[in-house]
């Protein structure tokens, strides 16, 4: 009988240790955010040549955001690239970007994106962010030919081209 009581006490002690162990392992901390929360406006550059649309690698491209306190270079001297990822501001309904295809000599163009904003909850780990819906794109035509919207929804999904720029 004494042996049985000893076993009961030992079982109780082990049970208590296990309770502390599980409790210590279950204190919540914020999980790391493992997904992008800033949607990118993906831009592709093309040429319309001999009845066909072909990719155009810009030789020394410059993209500058004009809608912050001072002009901010987003791409500077990007060599032989035709895909660019820009951002839109959730504080405004428009975003203006300056584009220079070749920083050495080509003329500058201004592209204005007009859009709607939509608040989006990602997760408790990542918090809130915004998705956008493009409604119009305006541009000057100093060096480029035209700008068209290809996919209106600007989100964190990968592999989507939103705007095509033709030179």
């Amino acid at each position: 009988m004494a042996k049985a009581k000893c076993h009961s006490i030992l079982a109780g002690l082990c049970w208590s240790v296990a309770a502390v162990w599980f409790a210590a392992c279950n204190t919540a901390v914020r999980n790391p955010c493992l997904e992008p929360t800033v949607p990118k406006l993906n831009v592709g550059c093309y040429q319309y040549r001999a009845g066909a649309v072909t990719d155009t690698l810009l030789p020394n491209a410059v993209f500058v955001s004009l809608d912050i306190d001072s002009a901010r270079y987003w791409y500077y001297g990007a060599d032989k690239i035709n895909k660019f990822a820009l951002v839109l501001s959730p504080r405004r309904d428009t975003a203006r970007w300056l584009l220079q295809a070749d920083s050495g000599f080509s003329q500058m163009d201004t592209i204005t994106f007009i859009y709607e904003r939509k608040l989006k909850f990602y997760s408790n780990a990542c918090g809130y962010g915004y998705d956008f819906l493009l409604s119009r794109v305006l541009s000057s035509r100093n060096n480029l030919d035209s700008v068209t919207i290809f996919t209106k929804e600007v989100s964190t999904k990968a592999g989507i081209e939103n705007v095509k720029i033709f030179f």
């Binding site: 009961s8 109780g12 002690l13 204190t27 912050i68």
Partner: protein, 231 residues
């Protein structure tokens, strides 16, 4: 990690001790209770692990208790209840939530009792659970990638969550009428969409509101009332 492993070994060791204990107490069934008497038991349980977790976590707290009643054929009706709250206070997201919940279900002992007073058990069971959840207004800030910060408030939300649980565990009678035991639970949320966009980080009785399935455990201390009904 090694200290945790050692603790786990101690935990597992306790089961072998319990088995020996029951072997040593084994008494022929005919010697103890009259055949006509039907044992009855109502057992009250309280999850003591929650108290430890409440001490260790600044974000959440909860309390759980329950009772089970012996029906027949080593089957128990079980009802559990509890409440809890969580405080999310991240730099970019702040809100509070609280909830109460009720669970009801059946536990079935996997082992036949070795003598009439043998109320220890290893069991499996299921639960259906309902939780009433209240999330307060949430304040958020976002970074637009250009260094700009936006902030706002999303409205409060009340909703009812339903979930189903598969559970298993053990109860060991440490002293007369006093039990210790544990449950592991696999939970399946049945109406996750009802939570809206901002799902609470913690729902007492369930776990992370963002996940459709959850794993949980309980460590119970329990006290039993017993009597015999003669037919």
């Amino acid at each position: 990690m090694s200290k945790y492993s050692f603790s786990l070994l101690l935990f597992l060791l306790s089961f072998s001790c319990i088995a020996q204990d029951q072997d040593s107490l084994a008494v022929p069934a005919k010697a103890s209770a009259p055949a006509a008497a039907h044992p009855k038991q109502l057992r009250f349980s309280f999850d003591v692990a929650r108290i430890l977790m409440n001490r260790l976590s600044e974000q959440k707290s909860s309390y759980e208790g329950g009772l089970d009643y012996y029906l027949k054929n080593e089957t128990y009706f079980t009802a559990e209840f509890g409440s809890g709250n969580s405080v999310i206070d991240y730099p970019d997201l702040k809100y509070k939530s609280n909830n109460i919940f009720v669970r009801a279900g059946i536990d079935k002992s996997l082992f036949e009792r070795r003598y009439p007073q043998d109320w220890g058990m290893g069991f499996i069971g299921f639960r259906y659970a309902v939780g009433m959840i209240n999330r307060n207004e949430a304040a958020y800030t976002t970074n637009d990638g250009l260094g700009g910060i936006t902030s706002g408030i999303t409205p409060a939300h009340r909703f009812t969550a339903h979930w189903f649980e598969l559970t298993g565990g053990m109860r060991v009678e440490l002293f007369k009428n006093t039990f210790a035991g544990w449950n592991v639970r696999f939970k399946f949320l049945l109406n996750q969409k009802a939570m809206g966009e901002l799902k609470p980080a913690y729902i007492a009785g369930y776990g992370a509101g963002e996940k459709g399935t959850a794993f949980d455990y309980n460590f119970y201390l329990a006290f039993a009332l017993r009597w015999s009904a003669k037919h």
